[in-house]
């Protein structure tokens, strides 16, 4: 069984946990096999920013001792995972992909990380991402870009690019990512893995480095829909440390996966198949919808008329919230301070100037402008009102259907450098994903074929608030068919 050269390709959560439980391998060997894989592959991919080997091997040892004593392992016992570097990990450097947090070592664990570890997961390290999760290609990481494992000349998507690439390249069984405008689903689509953004409030954000608080979500990236369900079950639920976490019961997502989808109503909105959608992506998604029909789902047209306004709405709200959240990087408590500063204001400005990258500054500027006197009503308030309209679109559609199916992204993975000089073109990569963040509804991206150039394509399934079971079920049925 598992050695350094073992085939990690089909290693799912259950396969890993069962192998450790039944002593066919050890959690230590599994962790070492993944580190060997990282050693071999990650030089050209760049998915990891920090390895937490000591912590991983201690946890692995704990799981191995449990297995040796014949105790039942928890849901992720011995399973190697990666954590996006925007989530605090006690004693393990957490940079958010930014130079301003280059040396930051959190004194506590975020709730999602703590819950994963309490369920036996082995944290291999921290995943590369766009700086403060701001980006759609991972090129905004202050450390190094991530390359798409399927084609190294292409981006893995963003901002959870490292999280997606690591799963795609078998350097972790599952990873955690965060999604503010599509940052879990879009990279999952680009790398050919499953990415789940739960309902707003479903998973505690305690310990998540804030980007836009009314839009930030934590969720899993995995090889299978079932693995996503297992991770969600583990990390979901009310947490008193996050007042926005919802007091809503957590169902048995895994147990409900195999319920039939026959008779389920799936909505298709023409607004998600309009100009800008690549032909190959359209064909693959239409074929996926046909497959769901063949499984007995009823496909119903729905209308989401405000969709063309989602990107401008998103970029006003997200940047306004970011400009406020990122004010904390002041060079005093935990962020890097510029050398040789004499006054307080000089310290703020120079520390932020040196520590923050171009896209982060651009968004802070846009957000500050949108909130500033004289522009608040025209920009920020206007965007909040349009957010209501976008949310009502979904309310209306979900009166008729159980879920909505769309492409995850208008194109497959683009080339590194292709959009990095045009912020607006980059923002448009999120056109099909930002709507769910704005409405707070859950969405999942599941692989649905490839382009002629062998680049993965993603099918997005959106559901009602707290209806993760429904979208997981549809995704699972599609994946298994």
């Amino acid at each position: 069984m598992p050695t350094a050269n073992m085939d990690l390709k089909f290693l799912t959560i259950d396969a890993a946990r069962t192998a450790v439980q039944e002593r066919k391998t050890t959690a230590q060997a599994l962790a070492e096999a993944h580190y060997a894989r990282i050693q071999q592959e990650d030089g050209q991919i760049g998915a990891f920013l920090t390895l937490s080997k000591e912590r991983a091997l201690e946890q692995a040892d704990r799981m191995d001792r449990m297995a040796a004593e014949g105790k039942t392992l928890p849901a992720l016992g011995g399973v190697p995972v990666g954590i996006k570097d925007v989530m605090s990990t006690r004693g393990v450097r957490t940079t958010a992909g930014s130079k301003i947090l280059e040396n930051y070592i959190p004194p506590y664990d975020g709730t999602a990380v703590a819950r994963l570890e309490a369920a036996g997961a082995v944290v291999l390290g921290k995943m590369n991402c766009d700086e403060f999760a701001m980006g759609s290609s991972n090129e905004n990481s202050a450390y190094h870009p991530v390359h798409n494992p399927r084609d190294l000349s292409r981006v893995p998507g963003g901002s959870s690019g490292g999280s997606a690439a690591a799963v795609a390249a078998d350097m972790a069984v599952v990873t955690l990512g965060s999604d503010t405008g599509g940052s879990i689903r879009q990279p999952a689509s680009f790398c050919g893995v499953v990415g789940l953004m739960p309902t707003y409030g479903r998973v505690s954000r305690y310990g998540l480095i804030a980007f836009a608080s009314s839009l930030d979500h934590i969720g899993p990236l995995a090889k299978t829909v079932k693995d996503s369900a297992i991770v969600l079950r583990t990390i979901a639920g009310r947490d008193p440390m996050d007042s926005t976490s919802a007091d809503v019961a957590v169902p048995d997502y895994v147990g409900e996966l195999d319920k039939p989808v026959r008779g389920m109503k799936l909505g298709v909105a023409k607004e998600y198949f309009s100009e800008g959608l690549d032909d190959e992506v359209r064909q693959a998604v239409e074929a996926a919808i046909d497959k769901l029909k063949a499984l007995g789902c009823d496909v119903v047209p729905v209308s989401l008329p405000h969709t063309p306004y989602a990107i401008p709405t998103y970029y006003l709200i997200a940047t306004a919230e970011a400009s406020s959240n990122l004010a904390r990087y002041d060079g005093v408590r935990y962020s890097r301070r510029a050398r040789g500063v004499n006054t307080l204001s000089e310290m703020y400005r120079r520390s932020r100037d040196e520590g923050l990258g171009a896209e982060v500054k651009r968004r802070i500027m846009l957000g500050t402008y949108a909130l500033s006197a004289g522009y608040y009503d025209a920009y920020y308030l206007k965007a909040q009102k349009v957010r209501t309209l976008l949310t009502r679109d979904f309310d209306e559609a979900f009166r008729k259907v159980d879920a909505i199916v769309t492409p995850t992204s208008p194109t497959a993975a683009f080339r590194l450098g292709e959009k990095s000089n045009d912020p607006l073109a980059m923002y448009l990569a999120d056109i099909y994903t930002v709507t769910a963040d704005l409405a707070g509804i859950p969405g999942i991206s599941v692989p649905c074929g490839e382009t002629k150039e062998k680049l993965p394509i993603g099918l997005q399934i959106l559901g009602k608030h707290f209806a993760e079971s429904t979208i997981l079920r549809v995704a699972h049925a599609y994946e298994q068919a």
Binding site: V332, R352, K361, L366, T368, V386, Y427, F466
Partner: protein, 112 residues
């Protein structure tokens, strides 16, 4: 052009950012191109639409309760160390670029 160079300087000051001349020029270009795109929101009449600040306005509320008690799920008792112990002082200071044994150190706040 909606945004002028003067606006960029002013907003940078509000945001505590120091921008080089080159950065300022790029910012001017990018902000104008993004805001021009954003202007399409004006096509929508939102005079009767309430703003949406939070998704959690939409769940968890107990409408049977009066006032802020509707949001009881999001509150806790007001007690010292109600959810967790405070960080030990040395832990809280450990990431500071400059600190003594008790305090964060920063340049003088009042400039004369």
């Amino acid at each position: 052009m909606k945004v002028t160079d003067k606006d960029v300087v002013y907003v940078a000051e509000l945001a505590n950012l120091e921008l080089t001349e080159e950065e300022r020029a790029g910012m001017l270009r990018d902000l104008n191109s993004i805001l021009e795109y954003v202007d399409r929101l004006d096509e929508l009449d939102t005079s009767e639409v309430p703003p949406m600040a939070q998704v959690s306005d939409r769940y968890g509320r107990n409408e049977a309760k009066p006032g802020s008690a509707r949001f009881a799920y999001a509150s806790r008792e007001d007690v010292v160390e109600g959810l967790r112990k405070s960080l030990a002082r040395e832990e809280a200071l450990a990431n500071a670029p400059d600190a003594d044994e008790e305090f964060f150190r920063a340049p003088k706040v009042i400039e004369r």
